[in-house]
């Protein structure tokens, strides 16, 4: 039964319709959760006793960083599905993930640097997490670069799938090795807080933002993947019916 569902999901017209229908179900809740999180985080949560109001950037930085990793995993998983089951839709999803993931990574880097400025005095301090994020950005750029360099779409799909799978295995290793490297210098980690545990008033908005970002990613992915499927299947017959259906 699940197998039938799986193969249906892989059919481009079915995926297109599904994606069209599901997008608002992810988009609107993302907006609401994001607003709630922002209000809670920027307004209602008390200032950190060590960092004052500066810590509030975590409400954008942490979800962005978490998503940059999650998107890479989703990208690698759907690339693997596409490679093993030869599913064009899965490859389209992987291709759509890459720019989104790269943007989240860039956002995490920028917010991390903006956070660092008041805390460390400089914009960059080779903090292990930020350094890891930078390397993750290179991995995304490499993936997109490889895709871009290969003209044949099917071949680009398969080659970048191999790269994504190799990358996803490496990401935890790279992350660990950077933390290990940094631990030798005992540099102050700004990402911790004054309190040993976060009170609910700080934690809840963070979780809301995390959920909001995740839903936003899914909505964005559905929109991009729809466009990607449309582009790949542009000569197929079902396109005319789907577009005609959208117009009516």
């Amino acid at each position: 039964m699940a197998w039938v569902w799986f193969h249906k999901f892989g059919s481009p017209p079915h995926f297109y319709r599904l994606a069209t229908r599901l997008t608002p179900w992810f988009g609107w809740p993302a907006l609401l959760l994001g607003l709630a999180g922002l209000i809670g985080g920027l307004g209602l949560a008390p200032p950190d006793y060590q960092q004052g109001d500066g810590f509030r950037i975590i409400y954008v930085h942490a979800p962005a960083a978490w998503l940059s990793l999650m998107v890479y995993t989703v990208m690698a998983l759907s690339a693997a599905v596409g490679l093993i089951w030869r599913m064009n839709v899965a490859h389209a999803v992987a291709a759509s993930c890459a720019p989104i993931g790269a943007s989240f990574t860039a956002l995490a880097l920028v917010t991390g640097m903006l956070w660092g400025r008041p805390m460390w005095g400089t914009y960059w301090e080779w903090d292990p997490r930020l350094t890891s994020e930078l390397l993750l950005l290179f991995l995304y750029l490499g993936y997109m670069g490889l895709r871009n360099a290969i003209d044949d779409t099917a071949r680009a799909d398969r080659a970048s799938a191999v790269l994504a799978i190799v990358g996803v295995v490496n990401v935890p290793i790279i992350h660990y090795s950077v933390i290990w490297w940094n631990s030798l210098h005992q540099a102050p980690s700004v990402m911790k807080f004054g309190q040993p545990t976060m009170p609910a008033s700080m934690l809840v908005p963070l979780l809301l933002m995390l959920a909001g970002f995740t839903l936003y990613f899914v909505a964005l992915l559905l929109i991009r993947a729809r466009g990607e499927v449309l582009r790949r299947e542009r000569n197929a017959r079902w396109i005319d019916e789907a577009v005609a259906g959208a117009k009516s």
């Binding site: 030869r86 003209d151 044949d152 779409t153 099917a154 000569n235």
Partner: protein, 204 residues
């Protein structure tokens, strides 16, 4: 010992190169695939090799899908592409020793005999890049009978060959099919084969 292609479809980017190609070639037969440049002859051969993945359709050898056991299928297959598949820095004899040796043990005498047969015996100690294109092609042809392969897939084997070279090719194919082998040959000029078990299919 039959190779069968069933409804092969293959796209290269936007182009629908193979559109439902089907045929069957039995032991002792040689199929010539003709067609204009760009009609998909090379693509077809590479699909038969299992190098290019097919969107639809399947290739069977001895009744079984080749995808089920690709290494075993490759063990019975000799492929000659547009490139000779030989190293320019090695001599003709060395090339054959390495190329065939990956598949089966081959003696020095067998190599000498094959090179002599192909008319490039004088060049056996010369690096391949110093030979002419025709001579290199002859060395590539010399490799074929040594491989011990039941199935030959040849892509424009006659390119760069003079008249004597073309008749060598015809002889090799004739011997191969008489001994019960199967051959699929892509060419845009018709081959003259001694045996009459020869068929032709044309790609648009």
């Amino acid at each position: 010992m039959t190779i069968t292609a069933e409804n092969l479809h293959l796209w290269r980017g936007e182009a629908h190169v193979l559109r439902g190609v089907s045929f069957s070639v039995r032991a002792g037969e040689c199929l010539q695939v003709t067609g204009a440049n760009g009609s998909g002859k090379t693509t077809l051969l590479r699909a038969l090799c299992g190098l290019s993945p097919l969107e639809e359709g399947r290739v069977s050898w001895r009744g079984a899908d080749i995808a089920a056991d690709l290494p075993a299928y490759h063990g019975e297959l000799a492929y000659l592409g547009h490139d000779n598949g030989l190293k320019g820095d090695l001599t003709a004899a060395e090339n054959l020793r390495y190329a065939v040796g990956l598949r089966r043990r081959v003696s020095r005498d067998e190599i000498s005999a094959a090179l002599a047969r192909a008319g490039v015996d004088a060049a056996r100690g010369i690096p391949l890049r110093r030979l002419s294109a025709g001579q290199r092609r002859r060395v590539a042809l010399a490799r074929l009978p040594l491989m011990g392969a039941a199935l030959w897939l040849l892509d424009e084997p006659g390119s760069n060959l003079d008249a004597a070279g073309q008749s060598l090719l015809a002889q090799l194919l004739g011997e191969h099919t008489s001994a019960g082998g199967v051959a699929v040959v892509a060419t845009h000029q018709a081959l003259e084969l001694p045996s009459n078990a020869q068929r032709s299919v044309s790609l648009q």
